[in-house]
Amino acid sequence: MLTYTIRRLVLAIPTLLFISLVIFLLLELAPGDPMAQVPLTVPPDVKEKMRLALGLGEPTHIRFVKWMWQFFVVEPMNFIDWAFGTAFSEGQQRVLSWQFRSPVMDVIAQRMPQTLWVVAMSYVVGILIALPIGIYSAYRQYSVFDQTGTFVTMVGYSVPPFFSGVLVIVIFSVQLGWLPSIYDTTLKVVDWQSFKLQLMQMVMPVMVLALQTTAQISRFMRASMLDNLNQDYVRTARAKGLSEWTVVMVHVLRNSMIPVVTVIALGVPNIFGGAIITEQIFKVNGLGQLLITAIEANDLPMVQTVTFIIAVLIVFFNIVADVLYGVLDPRIRYD
């Protein structure tokens, strides 16, 4: 198992290098000019110097290597400096955003908490709702609960977040006026009152994202439970006289969770991508919104870095899912 994990991790390096190259080359084709906003009164030679200052004067391959150096060496060193108060990255050039003129990583660090709060919370809520639904629908297959559950998850699967999000805004903000439609990031939780406000503004984005998660995971949970409920070991457990609760919640559930856990792991990076739309609807200024504004503002270093971070997350969680599968299920041997 350890050799397998190490092999996968080593193999991830060329994959990630290739992905970063693909993203870089794609952005290289961008027609937009970051100097387009500069007033026409600025003389051309000054403009040329500004281009050089942005790091645009050099050929493509040199800029790619420079970006890699900055991303993989300078930024981690900078993180170590920040964490331990050392000075490794003193005087090193960092990845700079064109629209904010500040290091990309600093901006990302500012936006990360909002995304993590909303997205991670919704994922947890979604899983917590999905698991009991999946278990009970499988246990009472074809019952009314199962039929309704299947229908609701089908709907949750089919209604895109840009409709469900707008719909809950119409109902709860416009018509009823219960919840705020815009996520206020400047809100600081200091007392009970502000905690309540924070909770209220989180409810809608979290529920919209959670609906998608719930739909996928409860279907998976149900299918996986159904696979196990008819196995011989379940009959053995019942024949031994174990209580129904023990049979279902201990024997069957533990075996059914194996594929579900890997699906949950695989879904983590997807939620960052899917959050782009939800963040746009509820005006959460998180990572997804940062990416959209960066794309619109032609801020190539920002787009490159954020997209690459998402790619790293996807590759990493793919490995986590595969390794988890092997750890949890001894029948699967990779070596």
Partner: protein, 312 residues
């Protein structure tokens, strides 16, 4: 004493010949499909939506792009059942026009993704030498952040393609290609798995032993046998493509503003959310209903095409 009766043939052993007329495979599939109520309802709803969207405009008097500025922002009435938008255009006509684009994008992108996916899957499964590289490529595509890349692609190439083919055709080609290129991977994986299993079967060996060429082997023996998983992923592919196109349009990176699609209409309506919340409802409902019915159809099709479930 008593006479032994003549030995009568045992009734059960008598050969009566087939009682039912022979049934074709597709008849069986249809019978199984009919028993799935959700799938049946889904296909009826989908058929209705497609008919309304493609036949409707020729029956409906209003044009999708006709601006009647005096009748703007009207609520639902007999003349305009869905009301009018901020320029006085009839919402029902715009919904139908938008549906044509959305469904056309969904179908074309699905066909592209399916073609690419089946090609990669069959090649990887059939030719052992291609298996490694092609599957690594599939894994690579699966680990790309798709939505951000789609956004970047659409943003980068829209000017060029609009210039080449005109604004509408250009964006159509761009969106279809972008969605197709980013969604072929699941099909490729499923098809490869099935081809790998089929390749070891006796009928392939028999076909090969009479000297069938690889091309004929694939087109006549392999492809018909992987048709059912391809069909199932086709239905899911349409749903996925419609959602992706609407998401792009919703983010303002899809079709040009005067060219309606369901996602675009939803995006336009969100700007008037405070004053006319009901305008959001129809495009969103259309997208959700279409996708829901397609998903149900795919579910039923999966059951109907699986011979282990069929007939039970």
């Amino acid at each position: 004493m008593t006479d032994t009766p003549d030995p009568k043939p045992i009734a059960a052993l008598a050969d009566t010949g087939p009682t039912a007329p022979p049934r074709s495979q597709w008849r069986d599939v249809w019978d199984q499909f009919k028993t799935h109520r959700g799938a049946l309802a889904g296909s009826i709803v989908l058929f209705f939506i497609i008919a309304a969207v493609f036949i409707g405009p020729s029956l409906w008097p209003h044009d999708a792009s006709f601006i009647d500025i005096l009748a703007r922002n009207k609520g639902p009435s007999l003349g305009h059942p869905f009301g009018t938008d901020q320029l006085g255009r009839d919402m029902l006509a715009r919904m139908m026009a938008g549906g044509q684009t959305s469904i056309a994008v969904g179908l074309t992108a699905m066909l592209l993704a399916l073609g690419l996916g089946s090609l990669v899957g069959v090649l990887a499964g059939f030719f052992r030498r291609l298996d490694g590289p092609l599957m690594r490529l599939t894994d690579l595509f699966l680990s790309l952040p798709l939505l951000p890349l789609l956004l970047v692609m659409v943003l980068l190439f829209r000017e060029t393609l609009s210039g080449l083919f005109g604004p509408e055709t250009g964006i159509f080609i761009l969106i279809v290609v972008a969605i197709g290129v980013t969604s072929w991977m699941p099909t490729a994986r499923i098809v490869r798995g099935d081809v790998l299993a089929l390749k070891e079967r006796e009928f392939i060996l028999a076909a090969r032993s009479i000297g069938t060429t690889n091309y004929n082997l694939i087109t006549r023996h392999i492809l018909p046998n992987v048709a059912s998983p391809i069909m199932v992923s086709a239905t899911l592919g349409i749903a996925n493509a419609i959602i992706t196109e609407s998401a792009l349009s919703f983010l303002g990176l899809g079709f040009p503003p005067d060219f309606p699609t369901w996602g675009r209409l939803l995006n336009d309506a969100t700007q008037y959310l405070q004053d006319y919340p009901e305008r959001v409802f129809w495009p969103g409902l259309a997208i959700s209903l279409t996708v829901l019915s397609i998903n149900y159809m795919g579910d039923g099709l999966r059951d109907a095409l699986d011979p282990r479930i069929r007939g039970r």
